[in-house]
Symmetry: C2
Subunit: 417 residues, 2 copies
């Protein structure tokens, strides 16, 4: 007997028929003798409607009231899932954030989980009852309803799994696992059987939209084995997907992965903007003024390149920011001209960051060189580079996205056999 | 300065524009220096959709989960109303049943309020904040969400008004007050300026659908002055309706009504069924067997007439039950044949109960005789009669409903001058 968390996203609970289908996955685990907690999102489209109401009500709505409004979506699904499970003959009840309690901080609209008391859930589950938890929501100081921000139900699921010491957290979604890269771009992309937490974190933060970043961080922190699979698999077939393969991808500790690949996947992110500052006076304090002013506005700077002119009098600084912060960043930079003197500003959102990710990279030399060689062979110009222990990222023109991803996918031997 | 409760029903908060209009009524009271609590229903149509989801999920849904699902409708409106009020520059926050707390018993789906702790609401209001309370919902033992049954937001409003010792509870609805009778049937019906609690209770329970019966009971018990008015009146005009009259109807203690009318109104209810038992053996225990078996099935019996045959051997018993209980009642009665011997059963749902209501009736003789005379003059046959201190009810053929109501309305001088 194991203790499992099963999480179903909005498309998997979009109507009563889908909820019933999701419940059949729960049934399979219950019939196998497992204890089950279910985490549900709002029915597809509901959260958007509720957010829209808030926007109609005010351009500058109180995020505490926004939370009270939008958290209702998950409340509805949790009650309906409990009813459907009962209708199938199982004991079940819904749990709202405040009933557990699932405590968050007071950053309404994007709250972070601070503590989950798993005692009541464990007690209910050990009595044979399915605990159906409303995802995405918790209770903030002052007994106000809080939400975790978009996609927060993944985070709820992993956090609840940690709190109740679950053996595994199964994320049922509309994709059937984590792939070596986006299969829409590279048809030869393979589904990964296992991915290390660290790798998944890089993939999630780099635009593979399978799991919310925060949920992967939590899974890594609490070593919650997290299994991503499709809610549209036949619920009655244990351990196989529609094609007869083991379904889904397990995100786990690297110890569980017997022989790590050098490169696990190729990720890319189009949500980048490149900004270049031209002919900036090359004097002390310039970088501090530029990046300090951006930091003060909560604009995250990623890749940074600085090239000093041959005579040493001026310097060119190139860096990237999230595309949504582009306009704000330009405004902030224009204001620093008074401080550090005149300089030119060029920018482009027509760029993409492509990343090569793999735990095995740590013990293999020449992985970066291989990427540069492969891209050069296709005539793809690299605008900027960043690396970490398990990742190499390059910034290139957006027009080359597909070519670059396919080239790297092939170069590292990730294509299907 | 007064402390006021303003309650808005589903049609008054059907969309953001309507919520904004409702908020202008709140604004008027705030600007006059009053402390305000607002009770809101779910946006029109929302509760029905949520109920429909529950029915799709199971034919026999758990009422605790039903409550979690449907209570979300009021949660949404409370948050949106708070946002709209803030957008107009006022301090406001939403309150769910569990946050107040508003404690109910555990009869989920139709829970009764047991206690309301008004302390937090009073504290917030005395700090200048509008308390926007989600109507219809509370918290049952075991920290489960409970709802008060359909129309329960009126009850929430009156109960909160009692708990915070409000000076008045204003019920904003889609009608502009309580009328001497249904204006759709009698165009000459007049809006009443004041109605005594006892009279309103009779009107509410007899089918005048302005207020939920339970809310009037509570208002009477706690002497909550309750003012029924239209949410579509111009919010900026104080104390007048669209025609320049004082808006609405005050439901209050009879002491506030200087000179009570003998008859205040004519109510009618089509939700009645008449059942006649023919040739029942006239022996001790028959009535106990008949009415005991109906009571055991929670079927309320209203009017009862018994006529013994000339030779005294058999008796005919006629009575009424709510129309929705008709089929169950017949089934129960057929089962009693084994106990008390054979008898014939006739029944009809094609009947209507028309009632004449007025506090002044207590001190005036001949009020009932006037009703019988007036109906007889129009050839309307009376099938059964019940009376109380302030009410005379007659059961007649449904076909005569309009004629009977108009005749009585005119007979007691209720037509507009």
């Amino acid at each position: 007997m194991a203790r499992l968390v099963l999480k179903f996203g909005g498309t998997s609970v979009a109507n009563i028929d889908r909820i019933r289908n999701a419940a059949r996955h729960v049934k399979r685990e219950l019939d196998a003798g497992h204890e089950v907690a279910v985490i549900v999102s709002a029915m597809a489209g509901v959260t958007n409607s509720l957010v829209d109401y808030c926007r109609q009500a005010s351009n500058d709505y109180d995020s505490r009231e926004y939370d009270a409004v939008v958290a209702s979506g998950e409340q509805v699904t949790s009650g309906l899932m409990a009813i459907v499970l009962q209708d199938m003959g199982y004991k079940a009840r819904s749990w709202q954030g405040w009933q557990i309690p699932l405590n968050t901080n007071d950053v309404h609209g994007a709250a972070r989980i601070q503590a989950i008391d798993g005692a009541r859930l464990i007690e209910a589950m050990s009595g044979g009852e399915v605990a159906v938890v409303a995802g995405f929501q918790g209770i903030a100081p002052g007994w106000r309803i809080a939400t975790l921000g978009r996609g927060g139900s993944d985070t709820s699921a992993v956090a609840v799994a940690a709190a109740i010491k679950a053996d595994r957290c199964d994320i049922y979604t509309d994709v059937d696992g984590v792939y070596t890269t986006d299969p829409r771009i590279v048809p030869k992309a393979r589904r990964l059987e296992k991915v290390a937490f660290e790798e998944m974190l890089e993939m999630a933060s780099l635009g593979a939209k399978v799991l919310q970043v925060r949920s992967v961080e939590l899974a890594m922190q609490y070593k919650v084995r997290t299994f991503v699979r499709s809610s549209f698999d036949d619920p009655d077939k244990v351990g196989v997907d529609a094609r007869g393969n083991p379904p889904g991808t397990l995100i786990c500790d690297e110890d569980e992965i017997v022989e790590a690949e050098v490169v696990t996947g190729i990720a890319f992110s189009k949500d980048e903007a490149q900004i270049s500052l031209r002919r900036v006076a090359d004097k002390p304090g310039v970088a501090a003024a530029v990046f300090g002013s951006l930091a003060a506005e909560n604009i995250n700077v990623d890749m940074i390149i600085q090239i000093t002119s041959p005579d040493g009098s001026t310097t060119d600084i190139t860096f990237t920011v999230p595309a949504i912060d582009h306009d704000r960043a330009i405004k902030v930079l224009e204001q620093t001209r008074g401080e550090i003197g005149h300089f030119g500003i060029e920018s482009s959102t027509d760029v993409v960051k492509v990343s090569v990710i793999g735990m095995g990279m740590r013990s293999h030399a020449g992985v970066a060189a291989e990427a540069f060689r492969a891209l050069a062979s296709k005539g793809i110009n690299i605008r900027a580079i960043t690396t970490s222990e398990i990742k190499i990222s390059v910034l290139i023109d957006a027009a080359y996205t597909e070519l670059a991803v396919r080239t790297l996918h092939s170069a590292y031997g990730l294509d299907k056999h």
